[in-house]
């Protein structure tokens, strides 16, 4: 049963990922990406990473997709469609991609993976305890560094977005 579910999710992921890359309209690509991210959340659910799946849905499917949609809508000529590359180029790219895929898959499938012992658990309380632990195996430093990273991202985004006064005025004239 699990196996069937996994293959359904995998199909959704691969199908929509391809659609997202191949679509010639930006907004559609974004929506296809949304389905990919939702399917990834499904995989997390299957592995019992409930918290991670919830995060995946709220942050990726909820936050990042909204952000990407807004950025796409900021584009001047959104009705524009992506160019289609020349056939020879398409062929070469497809060839390179499939070669790369074959190399990766053959390496991964021939490797004899060792199953590690049971982890500390995936409940939210365990994650929280690990996150705040400052001893062996704790993640307090990354936790604090992430706040700095978020702060820097916020400052950077605001300063860039607020710096477009000149072009904004031009649009109002139009």
């Amino acid at each position: 049963m699990e196996r069937i579910l996994f293959y359904i999710l995998a199909l959704i992921m691969i199908g929509f990922a391809l659609a997202s890359v191949m679509s010639r309209r930006m907004l559609r690509s974004v929506i296809y990406l949304l389905f990919v991210l939702c399917a990834v959340a499904g995989v997390y659910f299957m592995m019992d990473y409930n918290f991670l799946a919830a995060i995946q849905l709220t942050i990726y499917a909820g936050g990042i997709i909204v952000l990407i949609i807004f950025s796409v809508l900021l584009v001047h000529h959104i009705e524009m469609r992506m160019e289609i590359a020349r056939p020879t180029r398409q062929l070469l790219t497809a060839l390179a991609c499939s070669l790369g895929l074959a190399a990766f898959l053959s390496v991964i499938y021939t490797y004899d993976f060792q199953v590690s012992g049971p982890g500390p658990g995936t409940e939210v309380s365990v994650i929280g305890a690990k996150l705040l632990d400052y001893g062996e195996g704790g993640f307090i430093l990354p936790f604090e560094v992430i706040s700095v990273l978020l702060l820097a991202a916020m400052v950077g985004a605001i300063v860039i977005a607020k710096g477009t006064k000149l072009s904004e005025n031009k649009n109002e004239v139009k």
Binding site: F51, L74, E144, L150, I158, N171
Partner: protein, 116 residues
Amino acid sequence: MGSEAIIVFFLAGVVLVTGANFLSNLISPKSDSDAKRAPYESGMTTIGPTWVQFKVGYYLFAILFLVFDVEIAFLVPWAVAYKGIGAIAFVEVLIFLFILGLGLLYAWKKGALKWK
């Protein structure tokens, strides 16, 4: 595992939605003309192109939302594990919140929260 239930729900959902669409398609009256397919805006034909460039304000709001969304994702495990750890967890999260709080103040000062 409970995946049987999920699959049953999934199938039921698929059947319900497609069935409803199919049935309404079957019994609804059909008409098709060029005028019907034309895009409209509040019942009128559109003036100018329908794709317009959004204001940068939307983007700013989205990025602020995302930053605090991520913050919440880190605060939830903290809130759950808080009882077992105690004072040190409080201090740790205070630093976290202080740094992001400064970010919020900064956004406020810069007028990123203002809609204009």
